[in-house]
């Protein structure tokens, strides 16, 4: 830590009273240039290490940097943290930190009634108000009545705090997010050391910036402690998470970790072919850092080449992985078909975002389910699974590889923008807890037939180039059963189409019984998939707390579906299917199980609010 600073490190023993609460939701919002994602991440990590359960939701604009002060330029980061299980980033923030008028304008409506707004008073001058479309200053015109408004001249105070560091005004101003963070740390009784360490390691080579950020953070904390604005601060006990070692992970980080794990557990080299696209790019960026593991990453010229190279790598004996979002999957369909025909292991990750077309590229959505299940020419069955929380992305990618290798098939893994960027504490598994990944390795020259099948899994053998005596040719034309030669025989085609379908349907044998949250029977069952699990479970919990006979299940295996669903559905009077689209799982369940259910849906580029789900269910009970 910088020795030049003369500030004393604040201790946790402050003078003001502390009120204990169970959880809180904070949203940091400001201009894209204000560093809100960084601020949010710092708060998250501090809170995670402190021991609370957390869930986060970053929310950033599609433009790199919209004009400063404009509404489209607002960037936000929400965190829900508490001493009990936290499953969503929170419906509505208790505290809104608004660095400028635009941030206030965009976010105020979400704040709980009576919530706290912390604003950077300095930024509420005419030009900014104008850019945000305010006709008068909301700090003065009474429009914030009903909220607790804390006006802090953040810019001025920050500039004061850093005046000895040698930074000029422009550079100095940039530290105001740390000042704000200091204030919020005080409010929630968080230690500063995690962030101080981070500043140290990040800016170690730039002493002036190091010192300035350190000073801003500490001054912020001290300002809150000293001034009269704040009377109490809040403490939130550590959460009672399952014992173990934890770290905080976003969904995309989890996918990268899971993929490296799959490589280590299968002994096959990981090849990641990808083309940058929001919100999947971080997977490429993460994996490209794991050179020492021997991970090969390939930034291809487009999504087609990305999956093509991954499939080539699988043919050559690696495990091919390709990640993208919906528009990228649109380009990969033809290659997925080839992977189905050639029966090679391949995992395709779709980090769903708002569609159709370019849609809302930085927002979350669950509207690529149809595409995942049905979006190819011909009878082209592909197993589909969906991750349900940031940390679960790790387990899902392992499961995807397990299926891909055991059944020799491409597998589609669905995540979404919310999971990808959101984070939660993740219990680090020990290596022994991880499944081994096995595959039907062809070795015997004498008996080898490229399209002979394992009796149980129906998978064909994987014969890897470089193996003497197993030379063979595959491709996209229909294959003759056993030999794998090209065959135009009508009956063979009919057989092969059914065999491929049967192989994928047979994966159901591996699916564990569906876990039911709540009682195994009742008045209503809420069904979900993907990133909505937290919201659905919380809604169920709260509905049950009201005395309603509601349970919920979350479907991870989408194709094939778990075999026990029909049985479960039959035990509930009504079934609700909640999802962020116009009812795609709902439709699919009708199609596959003839299930008559009620769709709960919204397509606003945002996760569900718990209240939304509750309301829809209550209306119909």
């Amino acid at each position: 830590m910088s020795t030049e600073t003369e500030l004393s490190t604040p201790t946790m023993e402050t003078q003001k009273p502390t009120v204990e609460i169970q959880s809180a939701v904070i949203r940091f919002a400001g201009d894209s240039g204000d560093g809100m994602q960084l601020t949010g991440t710092q708060f998250t990590n501090t809170t995670a290490v402190f021991g609370n359960d957390i869930s986060t939701l970053p929310d950033f604009p599609a433009e790199i940097r919209a004009p400063a002060g404009s509404l489209p330029g607002v960037s936000g980061f929400q965190i829900n943290f508490g001493s009990q299980e936290i499953r969503t980033p929170g419906d509505r923030p208790d505290v809104l930190v608004a660095m400028n008028p635009a941030a206030l304008k965009v976010n105020l409506a979400d704040l709980v009634e009576g919530g706290t707004v912390i604003v950077n008073e300095d930024s509420f001058q005419a030009s900014n108000l104008d850019k945000a479309g305010y006709e008068s200053n909301p700090l003065d015109d009474g429009s914030l009545e009903g909220y607790r408004v804390i006006r802090i001249p953040l810019t001025t105070l920050t500039l004061n705090a850093i005046k000895d560091t040698g930074l000029d005004r422009k550079q100095g101003q940039r530290c105001k997010n740390f000042f704000a963070l200091g204030v919020v740390y005080w409010m929630y009784d968080r230690p500063l050391d995690h962030t101080l360490n981070w500043i140290q390691s990040k800016f170690g080579r730039n002493p002036a910036v190091l010192e300035a950020n350190t000073a801003a953070l500490k001054h912020g904390f001290n300002y809150a402690e000293t001034t009269e604005i704040f009377t109490t601060h809040y403490s939130i006990r550590k959460a009672s998470l399952a014992p173990g070692k934890y770290r905080n992970l976003t969904g995309n980080q989890a996918i990268a970790l899971g993929a490296v794990t799959a490589m280590e557990k299968s002994g096959r080299e990981l090849f990641y072919g990808s083309y940058p696209i929001t919100p999947a790019s971080e997977i490429l960026q993460e994996l490209s850092r794991y050179k020492k593991f021997g991970v090969k990453t390939f930034q291809a010229e487009d999504e087609i080449a990305a999956i093509g190279a991954a499939l080539g790598a699988s043919f050559a004996g690696g495990i091919g992985l390709t990640g993208t979002s919906g528009p990228g999957v649109a380009l990969k369909g033809e290659f997925i078909g080839l992977a189905v025909m050639t029966e090679l292991p391949l995992v395709i990750v779709n980090i769903q975002r708002g569609g159709p077309s370019t849609g809302l590229p930085t927002k979350t959505e669950q509207s690529d389910l149809f595409q995942a299940i049905y979006g190819r020419n011909g009878e082209c069955p592909v197993p589909v699974i969906a991750a349900c929380s940031p940390g679960d992305c790790f387990w899902s990618v392992l499961e995807a590889f397990r299926i891909a290798m055991k059944y020799m098939t491409p597998v589609m893994l669905l995540s979404d923008g919310y999971l990808a960027n959101g984070s939660e504490p993740w219990r680090i598994p020990s290596l022994e807890d991880l499944p081994d990944l096995s595959f039907p390795n062809a070795t015997d020259q004498d008996t080898f037939q490229p399209y002979a099948r394992d009796e149980k899994t129906l998978s064909r053998p994987w014969a890897i180039p470089g193996t003497p005596g197993l030379e063979h040719r595959i491709g996209g034309l229909e294959k003759q059963h056993l030999t794998g030669n090209v065959s135009y025989d009508p009956q063979n085609h009919d057989n092969m189409v059914r065999l491929r379908a049967k192989k994928v349907a047979g994966i159901a044998q591996d699916i564990p019984p569906t876990e039911i949250y709540g009682d195994p029977e009742g008045d209503a069952l809420i069904v979900g998939w993907g990133g909505t699990r937290g919201a659905i479970t919380s809604a169920t919990e709260q509905l049950r707390a009201k005395g309603l006979a509601v349970s919920s299940i979350h479907i991870r295996h989408i194709n094939p579906l778990p075999p026990d669903l029909t049985d479960i559905f039959s035990r509930f009077k009504k079934v609700f299917v909640a999802e962020i689209n116009l009812g795609q799982l709902w439709t699919y369940l009708r199609a596959t199980l003839l299930l008559d259910s009620i769709s709960i849906n919204q397509v606003r580029g945002k996760p569900f609010m718990i209240q939304e789900i509750m309301k829809k269910v209550e209306e119909q009970l």
Binding site: P243, K291, G308, P468, R473, N485
Partner: protein, 351 residues
């Protein structure tokens, strides 16, 4: 970044060993299904004859193709093979090569497959200098789909899809390859079998992308497209065989040659006005490709058609670079440890 020089790979060092493979080891059990008389047969024969010379074990060969008549090639080679989808063979091949740099990877493509739908993948494989041997069968037509014009078809050509004549300017495959920074570029003719075999062999021995255009007759939909210069009797006068370090001469008695005026090449008769010393000397390995580029611009019938190796330079190869980067990281940082990785970052313990 430090770029290591080209390394002796498993393949290259094994060149010394006689693997006792011959042509028939590379003939697969599949019946060849091209039209009788198709130029593809000759290319297949030369390939099957050439590959045993490479000193590479049979199981290390992989032939990858897209879709087209030409793209059925892998079925006939008794090696590993992948008949992929239209235009995308270079992408698949790049994945194969990166995943296992010891494999000897060939890409077989057509003028439609490689230059129409697949043009971009071709360029990107070439610019990365992935060690692929790309053979483009140029018959100036879409064979498999029965006779529509291709990106190499002449302007004005009447085909099934252009009954009034094509209005598309053709593209020159070698120009495109050179523009994509190709390290090895050559051209051959299906029926000039000896030269074809030699050219394929030189291409195969180049580490990095080698790109060979083969003029291939489609006797069903574009018969005789190259006859004006490929027929045995016409070759001497109409074809310029490029030889490294040699002056560019052609004609039955090598009585003609290519000289240059500014940037304009011209055909000259050796004799009174010009001597051999006035002729352009071929140099495959110039680091700047301007000469190779100029040679690709020699168009028939004003000029003889150049065949042979236009360009052949050494540059770091992609799968080597990829492997080297991994090794360097492992040397510097130690081999990856999964347990450590999972436990990295800010962690805390709940008990």
């Amino acid at each position: 970044m430090k770029l290591k020089g080209i390394q002796m790979t498993a393949n290259q060092s094994s060149e010394m060993i006689d693997l006792k493979l011959d042509r028939k080891d590379f003939v697969s059990d599949q019946e060849v299904r091209w039209c009788p008389g198709c130029g593809d047969y000759s290319i297949l024969a030369q390939m099957q004859k050439m590959v045993p010379n490479l000193g590479v074990p049979r199981e290390n060969f992989v032939f990858i193709s897209g879709i087209g008549c030409s793209s059925r090639f892998p079925y006939y080679m008794n090696t590993y093979g992948f008949h992929s989808i239209h235009g995308r063979a270079p992408a698949v091949a790049t994945g194969v090569k990166l995943a296992n740099p010891d494999l000897k990877v060939f890409v077989v493509t057509g003028d439609g497959d490689g230059l129409s739908i697949g043009g971009n993948h071709l360029i990107h494989a070439i610019r990365r200098n992935v060690d692929l041997n790309i053979i483009l069968f140029n018959n100036r037509i879409y064979g498999l789909t029965k006779g529509q014009f291709s990106p190499t078809s002449e302007m004005g050509k009447k085909t099934k899809s252009t009954p009034y004549g094509s209005i598309d300017n053709p593209i020159n495959p070698l120009c495109v390859a050179i523009a994509a920074e190709a390290t090895f570029v050559a051209r051959a003719i299906d029926i000039d079998t000896k030269h074809l075999g030699e050219t394929l062999e030189r291409a195969a021995n180049h580490r990095g992308t080698s790109f060979v255009e083969v003029y291939q007759n489609c006797n069903i939909f574009n018969d005789g497209a190259f006859n004006d210069f490929t027929e045995r009797t016409k070759r001497a006068d109409q074809v310029l065989y490029l030889e490294d370090g040699k002056p560019m001469r052609f004609g039955k008695d090598l009585e003609k040659g290519i000289a240059i005026q500014g940037f304009s090449p011209e055909v000259v008769e050796i004799g009174e006005n010009y001597s051999i010393e006035d002729l352009l000397i071929h140099n495959e390995s110039l680091s700047e490709p301007t000469l190779a580029y100029l040679l690709t611009r020699l168009h028939f019938p004003e000029f003889p058609v150049p065949v042979g190796v236009f360009r052949n330079v050494e540059k770091p190869e992609y799968s080597d670079l990829c492997r080297d980067q991994i090794h360097a990281a492992q040397e510097k940082e130690g081999k990856g440890n999964l347990e450590k990785l999972l436990n990295s970052g800010d962690t805390w313990t709940v008990s």
